[in-house]
Amino acid sequence: MKDKKYFLSTILAVELGVLMMAAVIIRTFVPAWILPKAEVSNFVLVSLIAVFINHYVAKETKPCYLSAAVFSAVSFGLLPLAAGYIPIEQAFWCGCTGGVIFTLVTVLFSSFKDRLSTGPTKKMAPLLSALGIYLASLGFMGIF
């Protein structure tokens, strides 16, 4: 398919949709569970899962960064709001933060993966890139 560059945004929307659906079901039937908060490190994790899956689905096709930023902002703002996971006043913050983080993660993942994709450990490059970015985000969050 020639429009694989938009796959990333679709994957993110599906992933967030599934996660939010699970959250609604858990919140309804297992109210004692403490669900993860809408915060930076979780946005990074969700973004990394999407770019990781996209790496295998879209192969070498570079995503369209502008559309990824816009669609991810809409996804991060709208889907948790629709699920009642965040209040309406938090939706704008979630959308903007999610959009920025997703775009950053997409660029960083692509860059790290390309650098690591040499030698015998080439196949591990996507996994190592994702792991490195997630650990870096946790370290970054620890500063605040």
Binding site: D3, Y6, M20, M21, V24, I34, A83
Partner: protein, 178 residues
Amino acid sequence: MKKGMLMPVCTIAISAAVLFALSFGLKATAQKNLEEKRLWLMKTLLPESESFSEEEYTGEDTNIQGVYKALNGYVIETEVYGYAGNIQMFIGVSNEGTVTGVVVNDMAETYGLGAKALRDHKFLAQFLNGQGDFVIGEGIDAITGATVTSKAVAKSINSAVAFVTGADVETEATSWGG
């Protein structure tokens, strides 16, 4: 709009519609289950209690978010900022000011460190049967690597006991640091 963009647009729109319908449809069930869970939790925190009535809190202690009265004591809902976010707790306190039960209901503390406050029974059990004035490092051991979270928990419990006993909330008993 490019044809390829239709796929993410449709996916987002359909996901949002499905989520909204699901959330709206399950709202009443979620509320009912939440109330049942809360009542079960409060009965566990304050043994031998039957029913609770919510009382309006008019005091100055900002840690206290809710007061539920039973015949033999109170369950106090508190919210204190920990290391990474607010820690919401329910604390059972008898009419004599003795802590009968403690549970962390919601938090966003660091996984593997502060989040241990949820299930670290050894840490939480230190507060049981106490009468407030808990100070981390003075008879109460902190969770390893999570001193700030531990202090926030102690602060919440001190506030709850102070409410029941009528102690001054501005004393050392409830000031930051447990």
